[in-house]
Amino acid sequence: MTTAAIEVRIPTILRPYTKDAKVVSADGADLKSVISDLERQYPGLAERLLEDGALRRFINIYVNDEDVRFLGGLDAAIKSGDSITVLPAVAGG
């Protein structure tokens, strides 16, 4: 197993899944794999990020400050040293 070298910043509302950790480590060559790895470490987390196998509309994920929607979404390539930030959308009606 390769050393986890991808930093994932977790928003307050998802920290109950990570035992309150703000920043966790994960591994994976693309976002889909990183999310699987996060789910392995923190069960239940994937369901907050995905719906029917796709990224949830109102969760924003950024890789090195770029919106992952412009990097291929779940297929976005992730490499060692990358920083991923998750932020729930601020929205309503």
Binding site: P11, T12, I13, F58, N60, Y62, D65, D67, R69, T85, L87, P88, A89, V90, A91, G92, G93
Partner: protein, 138 residues
């Protein structure tokens, strides 16, 4: 639980809401971490440009969180206006309330109560809405 806020900030939010009508207006008020005091008003662009929906642009949102981190602040208030309905969180507001520590302020500028406006504050945690009193300081 309650919200204490300056009259100046309340007035700016009400004016922004009138200015952006018929679209929903939105923004945040920031304050020093841990103090719970809404000190710095930051109106945000409603990327949805809609009379019935608001959303911060994803890039603006990231920039906001970075700025807040840099300044050792936290988001104390998230506010938006309801243009035709009362200043109470809608099902959508509740579904998307992703900042459990924030006070959610709703403003209503609906025609039927004009020129009066409503300014109300709530906590929205785990899908439960609790209204809280608002103290406005002159």
């Amino acid at each position: 639980m309650s919200l204490t806020i300056s009259r100046a900030i309340v007035d700016q939010i009400l004016q922004q809401s009138r200015n952006e009508y018929p679209d929903e207006a939105c923004g945040v008020i920031l304050g020093p971490i841990g103090a719970g005091t809404p000190v710095r008003l930051k109106p945000m662009i409603n990327a949805a440009h809609s009379p019935t929906f608001y959303e911060f642009d994803a890039k603006d949102l990231l920039a906001l969180y970075r700025e807040v981190d840099d300044k050792d602040e936290e988001i104390v208030v998230i506010y938006h206006s309801h243009t035709e309905t009362e200043a109470y969180p809608s099902r959508t507001d509740i579904a998307y309330a992703g900042e459990p520590g924030a006070h959610y302020v709703l403003v209503s500028t609906r025609e039927e109560i004009a020129p009066a406006t409503e300014f109300r504050s709530y906590r929205i945690i785990d899908g439960i809405v609790t209204e809280e009193p608002v103290t406005i300081l002159d």
